[in-house]
Structures are given as C-alpha cells and as structure tokens.
C-alpha cells in the first residue's frame, strides 16, 4: 500500500522502533501519576522490504510510518476524550525488521498473558501470530490484510478484520457497474496468485449481480524500470495489444494487485472503455480525496498530525485504535476475552466517517462497512448502491454473507 496522489511528502515521523531484543512491556492497565488509568495498546508490524522505484507514478510514495501514523492520530484522539474521563492510552509500536523473528517478538509480547494487539502484518505473518498458543486468548485487530482466505477457510477466532476484503471490493464495484448498466466485463488479470483470487471475486460478483464476464486474459507484464525516458512510447504500443480481445465489453475490470500494469491502462486501451478494479476506479475503505460524512475533518486532522495525506492503511490503524478505545471507555473492558465478546456483540459500534456506525459480522469477524469507489482525485460513489437490499444490514450485500461463509469459528 502506498500514498497515491500525495503531492507533498514531508519529513517522516520518527518511530519508536523496538526490535525483538528490546521489547518493553508496560502494564496494560495501571494508574498513572495524574490519576489517569493507563491502557497500553501494542501495534505489531513488520517492515516489509519495499522499493519505491517500483511505484508506477511519481505522485506515489511509501512513507515509513504508513499505517502507524493513523494509529498514532487515533491514540491522540482517544486521549482527548480519555483525559475527561480518567483514561490515558499509550501506543507501543513494535517493529520487526523484514526477515526478523516475528515469533520471538510476539512471544515476548505475550509472555505475561494475552493481550490486545493491532497487527500490521501480511496474511502469512498474521496467521503465524494468531496461531501462537500464547495468542489464542488474545484479540488481534488486523489493520492491513484484504485477503479473502483470512475471512473464509483461514479465519481465526482471535482475529478481527478491519479493511474490506477483496470480495467486498469487487461487489462494491459490481453494484455500481450494474446500476450504470455496464454489465459486460473484460477481465485482465496479473500473474500473481492474489490476482487470480481477485479475478475469481470479479466472476463471483458478476454472478451475484447479473453481469457477464465476456472476456478474460492473463497478462504477465514485466514493467522493468519505471523511471525511463520516453517509456510512455513503449506503454502506448503495449497496452492496446494487451487489451485487444474479440468481444464487445463495457468496462475493463483489472486484477493487478501488485501494480504491474493497471495504472498504464486508462487512455491506452484498444477500445474506448473505462477501467475499474485494482486501478482506475477502485474500491477502498479510504482515500486522501474522500471528504464526505465529515471525513474532511479527519483528513485535516491527519494532515496536521502527520504532514502527509491519509491512506487506507492509516485508516486501518486509526480504526483499530478507535475500536480498542470504544471497548475500554464505553464498556470498561480491558482484558482480551471480554473484549472479543464485546466486539462480537450488538453493543459494539465504531465511528467510521461513512455516515454510519460499523460493527462486526459474527460469522467471520469482518467489519461491515460501506466501500468507497474512488478515482485518484474524486469520490465517484459509495456502495452499497441504492436498491441493493438485505434483510439484515445493507452493507452485508458486500462480500461473503452468512450463508456463503466458509468460516467456522466455533
């Protein structure tokens, strides 16, 4: 995940980087000197190797505090409320270097019993953490992943997912396309297994909402060096070739999770058709361009705090901390097992800047939520679209509904 359309990226916040050798363990709920009770939240993250030169656009960046800054901003917000009612929140960011020992770090964190952990980890690492015996009784708030598998067969009772799954995203786009009657789709799919899952989600969405996949193609594009002079000339000849198919379609639905070629498609396609999916019109939980439902205030607060724009991963971190804050301040819950129960209950609600409070689906512990449909500069729409109904929550028209769920938590 990267900052898209961030025109000014200033100095990055210095992070408290604790390696596995120096994990400090402050008391989880203790009374401090100002008479405030302290609750400390752990954010466990791995610093995955990322080469910014692989970003297609110069307007994108990859700040070191991606995600963490959202959690820090939310901690500041909690303390604004907490100081009025006797709570102080402390965020401990524990960063494991790429190739570092996640298990050892996690075990140290959990040495004194179960905890509330915000996880900024990729799917495999998240499962490693969740499956540690010491983590069984913990609460893990997954602020990063969008993998369907973690909400389906690979779901875990101690993990709560905050960002919309891939299936929620393709459904969000599908509802909008069906509303527009752009129902003939051409899927162009990247080479990764993630892209294959996303392409399967597109097909699933087409089936759910009565659209048709009229063509599908796997495109194994090697972008090479992104920073070449006159590179656009190559792209201008390659993209029309890639998008020439013998079918009449309304939109190109691109499945390119690793940003190999998707951003090259708009205006370079063989036929004059819009591009949606992982690039073009995208489905996301947050965008720096989103300003509806008082999100403007959130964007401005974040910019004042972090001196950069707020990304989806920052929003994930922000949500995670706010969720913990709600449990502590509203329900007076400080230990993991009651917190798990509370998060699954009807009493739980978290503010989202989406015009409604959000809660978790009990069947897979996915946060139900409206999904934004964004171009890099504008909000195009927000799904679920008008007229897509559900007997429970209209947001349950997005992603895996209870009857389709392959997650069996208990």
């Amino acid at each position: 995940m990267t900052v898209r359309g961030g025109f000014r990226i200033l100095g990055l916040l210095a992070l408290v980087v604790l390696t596995s050798a120096s994990v400090s363990l402050p008391a989880r709920a203790a009374t401090g000197r100002a008479g405030l009770k302290t609750f400390s939240i752990v954010l466990l993250r791995k610093r995955y190797h990322f080469n910014p030169e692989t970003l297609p656009s110069l307007l994108e960046s990859h700040p070191a505090n991606l995600g963490v800054a959202g959690a820090e901003e939310a901690t500041y917000e909690l303390n604004t409320a907490g100081k009025f009612i006797g709570w102080n929140f402390k965020l401990d960011v524990v960063t494991v270097p790429d190739g570092g020992n996640l298990v050892a770090t996690a075990q140290q964190l959990l040495a004194h019993g179960p905890r509330v952990i915000i996880a900024d980890l990729k799917a495999n690492d998240l499962l490693t953490l969740a499956d540690l015996p010491a983590a069984k009784q913990s609460v893990i708030l997954d602020m990063r992943t969008i993998d369907d598998s973690l909400r389906q067969q690979q779901c875990r009772a101690n993990v709560f997912h905050l960002l919309p799954s891939q299936a929620m995203r393709t459904d969000a786009l599908a509802q909008y396309l069906v509303l527009k009657r752009w129902t003939r789709w051409f899927i162009i799919q990247g080479p990764t297994p993630q892209d294959a899952v996303y392409a399967a989600d597109i097909r699933r969405s087409a089936m759910r909402y009565g659209a048709h996949v009229v063509a599908q193609k796997i495109y194994n594009y090697n972008p090479g060096s992104r920073r070449s002079d006159t590179g656009y000339q190559q792209i201008q000849t390659q993209m029309p070739l890639a998008t020439e198919v013998n079918a009449d379609y309304d939109v190109i639905f691109v499945a390119d999770q690793t940003d190999l070629f998707g951003d090259y498609l708009p205006y370079n396609t063989f036929a004059a058709r819009p591009v949606v999916g992982t690039q073009g019109l995208v489905a996301t939980a947050w965008s720096p361009a989103y300003q509806e439902y008082a999100a403007l205030q959130m964007q401005q607060r974040f910019d004042l705090f972090a001196h950069r724009r707020m990304t989806e991963l920052d929003y994930g971190g922000w949500l995670a901390v706010r969720i913990v804050g709600n449990a502590v301040m509203r329900a007076d819950i400080t230990s993991p097992i009651p917190m798990r129960k509370y998060l699954r209950s009807k009493d739980f609600l978290v503010q989202s800047y989406k015009g409604q409070g959000l809660n978790f689906r009990r069947w897979d512990q996915q946060l139900r939520q409206p999904v934004l449909l964004m171009t890099p500069l504008m909000t195009v729409s927000i799904s679920p679209q008008h007229g897509f109904l559900h007997p429970g929550y209209t947001t349950d028209t997005l992603g895996f509904d209870k009857p389709e769920s392959k997650c069996h938590l208990h």
Binding site: E77, T80, A81, F84, I85, A294, Q297, Q300, R301, M329, R330, L349, V350, Q351, S352, G355, Q356, G357, Y393, T394, T395
Partner: protein, 328 residues
C-alpha cells in the same frame, strides 16, 4: 419613504398606517436558511413561504441563529473562519466577526452580549464579545465540537464533540469545563428542555438521544428509534426541539427522512413524520404552531403543522440547506 408619504396627505397616510407599511419592509415572520454549497442564506416569508431574498455569505455557511433582540441573524462561514452578521431589516451582511478556523455552529448568551462558536477543526469553543468582535476566551473541548446549548441564566454552556462523543459542560463564570458526559457515538445537538431540568443530546451514528440530568451530569434515559422498513444504520438523530409546554419533542432523523414525535415525559415515540431527505436542523414559528425542517439532500424545508403533527408543505431553498433561524 416617510418624506414621500407626507407629501401625499393625511388620509393616505392613515390608510397606509393601518396596513402597517411604515417600516422599511413589511415585517412578517421570516425564515433564514443557510445553504452550505451555495454560500447564501435564503430568506423566506413566514406566511407565504416565498423567497424574499438570497443573501450572499462567505464560504460554507452552516450554523445560524438570531440575536435575542431579533435585529440580526448570525451565520457561521466554516471555510472562511467568519461569522456573517445579517441585518434583519435590510437583509444585508453588515458585519463580519473573526471566529478562528472552521466555525460550524454557534449560540448566543441570553442577553445577546456573547457569541459561542464551535471550531470544528480545532477542538475549541471560541467566546466572542458580540459588540466588539473581540475574543473573550477559547476553551479546549473534545474533537469536532458541534452543537451548543446555553441555559436561560447563561451560566452554563454545553457543547457536544462528534469524535470524542461527549457533552462538555462549561461554567461561563470560570470558563472551565466542569463535567464531561460520554454519550453514544457522534453527538450533534444539545437542547435543554424548556424547564431546563434536562438536557437532550442526539447521537447521529449511535442512533439515539441521551437524556441527561444537568445537575448530576448523569444520563437518565436513552431514547431509541425503530422505524418499520428503515434499517437501523440510516437512523441518524440530529435536530431536537420541544414544544413550549415541554411535553412533546421533535427529533430530526437524518437519512431516515423522518422527524420523530416523542412524548417528552414518557420518552415514547408517538409518531414518525415523513419529510424530505436528510433532515438535520429544525426551528419553530414564533408561537410554535409550525415546525420548519431543513432537508439537506432535497434542498427544501418541510413545514410541519404542530397541532395536527402533519407535514403540510415543502418549499425549495438553496443547495445543501443546513440550518435555520426564524425571526418574528
């Protein structure tokens, strides 16, 4: 105008006096509606509901109130950091008060000497001397402060903060926050009952209204809403108004497109009145026989007949109408 009249002789003058046209303009009740997108205030005649004037304001006008002497209407211009002061006789902006960043809404002290402004982006309430425009105080409160309520004696100001989800009680003699009450998520409006014994706070995302005892600062009741056929997540209580006898409350329910009628003694919801889309703010006519409901998404004002509890009419205003002040 009087000099022109004097030349026309006494009989005509008497006739005109009977018709009441001596004032600069005929003075029926007037409704002032702030239009957030248009950067205007629409003025409607309170009898005919015809548009009398469209007054240009600074950017993003939202919170709007009249002064206690009815001489001025004040409107917050969120993106300009100003309050525009509109003369209710000339319908022109005659003054501009600096408020600090992002004023969302405002309230006046009972005597009209002070203006309380919620600075949405700065987690502050700014207190302004209305006569001089000078700032008296800035009081830190929760994040995204919005609705303000002032007691009759003026000693207490309540502000709700949307992101902190609290009602903050400010003592105006010490300018200290003396109590903070955690309410359901995203409180928007605070309103005292006419007898001042209770404070109602609407929570937009929580979908409830908290009834608070302002002396003990405890929540004594939480009102829920159940509307057949409307999903719970669309029920977003915002505006709260009481009839003068304090028996009936009206609560605007945002995306549920309805106004709830509540028995203020039993807290039972007696009726849901269908209005335009996304009603937030509301205001009564001077004798509280009509309730004017501002519908943000349908760009109109629904007029509710209070005795019969029926929506009788809708009148168009500007784009994204936000607040309303009624000048008798």
């Amino acid at each position: 105008m009087p000099s022109a009249l004097s030349r026309r002789g006494a009989p005509l003058l008497v006739a005109l006096a009977c018709l009441g046209v001596f004032a600069a303009r005929a003075r029926a009740t007037e409704l002032f509606v702030s239009n957030e997108i248009d950067d205007t205030v629409t003025v409607l005649n309170g009898d005919t509901y015809k548009v009398i004037a469209t007054i240009p304001t600074d950017q993003r006008p939202r919170g709007i109130v009249e002064t206690p002497d009815h001489k001025y209407v004040l409107v917050c211009d969120g993106d300009s950091g100003n309050i525009d002061v509109i003369d209710t006789r000339t319908l022109k902006v005659v003054r501009r008060l600096k408020t600090g960043p992002d004023p969302e809404t405002l309230a006046m002290s009972p005597s009209g000497d002070k203006v309380y402004v919620s600075n949405e982006n700065n987690a502050l309430v700014t207190v302004i001397n209305f006569a001089t425009g000078k700032w008296i105080r800035q009081i830190p409160v929760g994040i995204e402060p919005e609705g303000l309520a002032v007691t009759h004696h003026g000693h207490t100001v309540v502000v709700v903060s949307e992101t902190t989800s609290m009602a903050h009680f400010i003592d105006t003699r010490t300018w200290k926050v003396v109590a903070n009450v955690l309410v359901d998520t995203r409180p928007r409006i605070a309103e005292f009952t006419p007898d001042q014994h209770l404070l109602w706070v609407s929570s937009e995302v929580g979908g409830t209204v908290s009834v608070i005892n302002p002396r003990t600062h405890r929540i004594v009741h939480i009102i829920n809403f159940h509307i057949p056929g409307v999903d719970r997540e669309y029920i977003g209580p915002v505006g709260v108004r009481f009839t003068s006898d304090g028996r009936t409350a009206f609560v605007a329910l945002g995306r549920a497109n309805r106004v709830a009628v509540i028995n203020a003694k039993t807290y039972r919801v007696e009726k849901y009145i269908l209005v335009g889309q996304r009603p937030w703010q509301m205001m009564f006519s001077p004798h509280r026989r009509r309730l004017f409901v501002v519908n943000g998404l349908t760009n109109d004002v629904t007029i509710i007949d209070v005795p019969s509890l029926r929506a009788v009419r809708s009148v168009p205003v500007g784009r994204l109408p936000w607040g309303i002040a009624v000048v008798p």
